[in-house]
Symmetry: C2
DNA sequence: TTGTACGCGTTATCAA
DNA sequence: TTGATAACGCGTACAA
């Protein structure tokens, strides 16, 4: 037999009003830090609030004021290292500004992403932050939010076409460039590239950086060494196997994430080649595994915590909570990247 | 000059009612899948909803029905591998049941945790899921939620004292036991232990498992080899340095997380000892790094995805959404653990 | 500086 | 099976 707990239904401003001998309007004023409240009155109200253990009902408040103080976040997968670090940062900063974070993951499904936009609209979040799926090339489902007055910030995976949304992205061009030109500087001539799918801006930009460095180094790109694929461990393994089975072998590989670079590194060790002597490898993301593997992996740091901070700063401007009167630029905010040199290249 | 976007203010059920020539009440019935709506009427409503691109205002709905369809989550840090995998699982399962996830991180601060309980109460979440801070020994701030009719589920780091909340925990006793008895089976006699702080149930239980295995193996516990500390890389390094600088040296170390085990492994390699020959090491959590490091790390798998699933299942029972009529047991639900044997032990 | 009265959009109750 | 009406708790225009 389950015991039925006695539920104290929550106090309202009416209770506080009664307890303090004031009107509900005054209570509301105190709660919202209105001017024109006598200090003594404020104190009386705060005492009553304390005594009754009153907590504002944000649902009712939101209905009236049209502000939920919740921010929606759509993300492909919470547990991807880079994403989880951005999210950690976003949540910490948002909380300081009095906003809550409502989190949705699309699992890289475009259909889920579309659904979640609707859900977040229904929830009347004050804004939406989104990192899109790998295959989102049409971003029009987000227009609905903006038309309804809900600002949208895209980060990491962002639209390449014109949009009214705010964009915050890593410097993927420079990341691709740094990785490649580092290899060239240390003497590589035959550089392979494991890229992500070009439907996604990230990999377009990294590829452009790769090409730029190759061109500057007067190196030819060998199409047999270029792979465009989802960046899984298995795919990378297949790719490197192919590359190393031909007559000509690359002397270096640039991979667009650390998972792929790790797959390469492990395969190469398995078949008895030495890294970096026989083959040099550069990854992307500075995943926690990259410092641990041996030889440790040279990779590109993306500063996820900084990205989270910039996202929230931009959001506060959009929501009019920023101290500064900054006008939003239409240009994307670009988060820097840095080559972390370790032993693999 | 920023251009002011034209904001279409959202349609309400009143608009839908007008467009379909029905009353708001009927629209609401359709939205909530009430019985007693004629099929033809339902169709008429759905058409109007479609035409107007209507989306229910969950804030208003929540005010009236006293259900926000949001679940609060309090977690020490989103980006810890284990936590982020549990969260991923929780979010995926919750979404299927039509609930949103509002996420807060305490950064292992008890004061933040207390604040967040209040915030989530104000938000009128339908339930709260919490993994507490390392130093939460008094859980009374959660009582407030339960008194207000908001059920609480603790997972991973749970209270050891009696509580009305639902508990879902890993089998930490067995994890500690498996790690230790494995070492004993392969011949270790002098086993050290790097434990977390005993304020936390996790480490109490793992320690008890350790002791049980030691006792069964007729092995003596050497107090100089027992460390109780926050499980950081640096702390573990200091600990192992101390252990290996004495006259007697352990032949194996059980660490309560993989970060500590990795710190041990790296230090031991630095000073020229061989793992597993000179020293055997077992970690805890099956962190992604543990398979990558060399030698690869023997560790304990905790099945975070399963834990997330069980959390949501328990929640649906508490919220009365479960198909089954299961009565909640008062016993904690225990998620199994498994020894992952690799090369370090 | 404070109080009165109304409305936000939805759902529940009751009556038809 | 459907409609009229009140209520959820709060914020704000307006009056005092």
């Amino acid at each position: 037999m389950a015991k039925i707990p006695k539920i104290e239904s929550a106090n309202t401003i009416l209770h506080v009003a009664e307890a303090s001998g004031l009107s509900p309007a005054t209570i509301s004023r105190v709660l919202n830090n209105h001017p024109y409240v006598k200090e003594a009155t404020r104190k009386r109200v705060l005492d009553a609030i304390e005594k009754l253990n009153y907590h504002r009902n944000n649902i009712a408040s939101g209905l009236r004021s049209n502000k939920s103080h919740a921010i929606g976040l759509i993300v492909p997968r919470i547990s991807m290292t880079f994403q989880s670090e951005v999210i950690t940062s976003i949540q910490n900063h948002l909380y300081k500004h009095g906003y809550n974070l409502m989190i949705c993951q699309s699992n890289d499904s475009l259909q889920m992403e579309r659904e979640m936009v609707k859900t977040l609209h229904s929830t009347r979040v004050d804004a939406v932050i989104a990192a899109c799926t790998l295959n989102t090339t049409d971003f029009s489902h987000f227009d609905f939010l903006m038309k309804s007055g809900i600002p949208v910030i895209f980060y990491d995976r962002v639209p390449t076409t014109k949009t009214a949304a705010t964009l915050i992205k890593g410097d993927d061009f420079r990341g691709g460039y740094l990785a490649t030109s580092h290899l060239i500087e240390i003497g590589c001539k035959n550089i392979a590239h494991i890229s992500g799918p070009l439907s996604c801006n990230l990999y377009q930009d990294r590829l452009a950086g790769f090409k730029k460095a190759m061109q500057q180094g007067n190196l030819k790109i060998n199409d047999k060494w270029m792979f465009y694929q989802e960046l899984t461990y298995e795919n990378a393994r297949v790719a490197v196997k192919k590359m190393l089975s031909g007559n000509e072998r690359p002397d270096a590989i640039v991979a667009d994430n650390d998972t792929s670079a790790i797959a390469v590194l492990e395969y190469v060790k398995e078949i008895g080649l030495k890294v970096p002597n026989d083959l040099k490898i550069v990854g992307y993301s500075n995943d926690s595994r990259s410092a641990i593997i041996s030889p440790s992996l040279t990779t590109i740091e993306q500063f996820p915590a900084l990205m989270g901070q910039k996202i929230v700063e931009a959001l506060m401007v959009l929501l009019g909570n920023s101290g500064t009167n900054t006008t939003m630029t239409q240009e994307p905010t670009v988060i820097p990247v840095q080559l972390i040199r370790r032993l693999s290249a």
